[in-house]
């Protein structure tokens, strides 16, 4: 089976670092990006199919990034990770194409479960 690669996008280095460490320990390959632009660059070179996006980033925000990624890589499964809670934001996320939505602080259990289900789904889609 192909290695499972996830892309973590957050403008805060300490968040990228700790999530990278956690996912790596869990057996995933992890790429990180500090901005939407960097994330797109990584996707163009070597796409990841499961992504975790911070919503509140300078420049391209998480919603715009999700739309862009869904447009070019429609198979990608994206998860929003945000510091803010509101009904507005949740419906914006679903409209933009996010699979699910987590509010910070989010536990590893939630993130790993999300990634596991996403990869299981992608595996199924391959054989359909």
């Amino acid at each position: 089976m192909e290695e499972k690669r996830v892309l973590v996008v957050d403008d805060e280095e300490q968040i990228r670092d700790v999530l990278k460490e956690a996912f790596t320990m869990q057996g995933y390959e992890v790429a990180t990006a500090e901005s939407g632009e960097e994330a797109l660059k990584i996707m163009r070179q070597n796409p990841c199919w499961v992504l975790f996006l911070d919503l509140n980033m300078p420049g391209m925000n998480g919603i715009e990034l999700c739309r862009e990624i869904r447009k070019n890589w429609p198979m990608a499964v994206l998860f929003a990770v945000t510091g803010y809670v509101s009904l507005f934001e949740l419906t914006d996320c679903r409209d933009a194409g996010f699979e699910d939505y987590f509010t910070k602080p989010v536990s590893f259990a939630n993130l790993f479960a999300a990634a596991d289900h996403a990869f299981a789904k992608l595996e199924r889609w391959k054989y359909n």
Partner: protein, 221 residues
Amino acid sequence: MKLLISDDNPALLRLLQGTLRDLDYDVVSTHDGSQAFELLIQPDGPQLALIDWMMPGVDGVTLCRKLRSQQDIRPLYLILLTARDNKEDILEGLNAGADDYITKPFDSNELYARIAVGRRLIDTQNEMAAQQKFQGALEMSGTVCHEMNQPLQILFSNSELLLQNLPESDPAFKKLKTIKDNIERLGTLTRKIMSISSYASKSHLNGKRQIIDLENSGTDF
């Protein structure tokens, strides 16, 4: 509601005070315009005022003008009492900032009715100001919570990582678990605060302060 009567006629004061107190007004009186000014600009002073045009010191119209030029003052309803009834004077009074105008000799019942108009207006304005203040506080707290969730995420994830690599028998385990659990508590708190869009409040024992009741506050969903 507090009502200020600024008039130098003691007979008039006697005439009005009794009935006004019966009508549930907390009556304060003065016969001096400058003193009236000082009383009306107090943050807990009267918001309703019956002001005689002719007064020693600062006259009624000047008092209105002075009050209306104050910044950051609570809503005030000013009724000018006067013997003058020609149009120029009426206009001068209203343009100076009086909300209403009553000429002497006046019908007491009419006066009480006009004061009640002012009372209703002040109640509405006070309520709106309180709502705005509260909305502002809510919005600010939402922003603060959003900012706090970033370091909370970093703290939480790092404590999770440390716990994963530590056997339960390790002396540090218990303390780390406490740290993680309380960070989680903070996360629940920030979520709660951000979800509040309508509120219930409960008063302190002395009836003055109000705190937000997080348990019973409404949420978006």
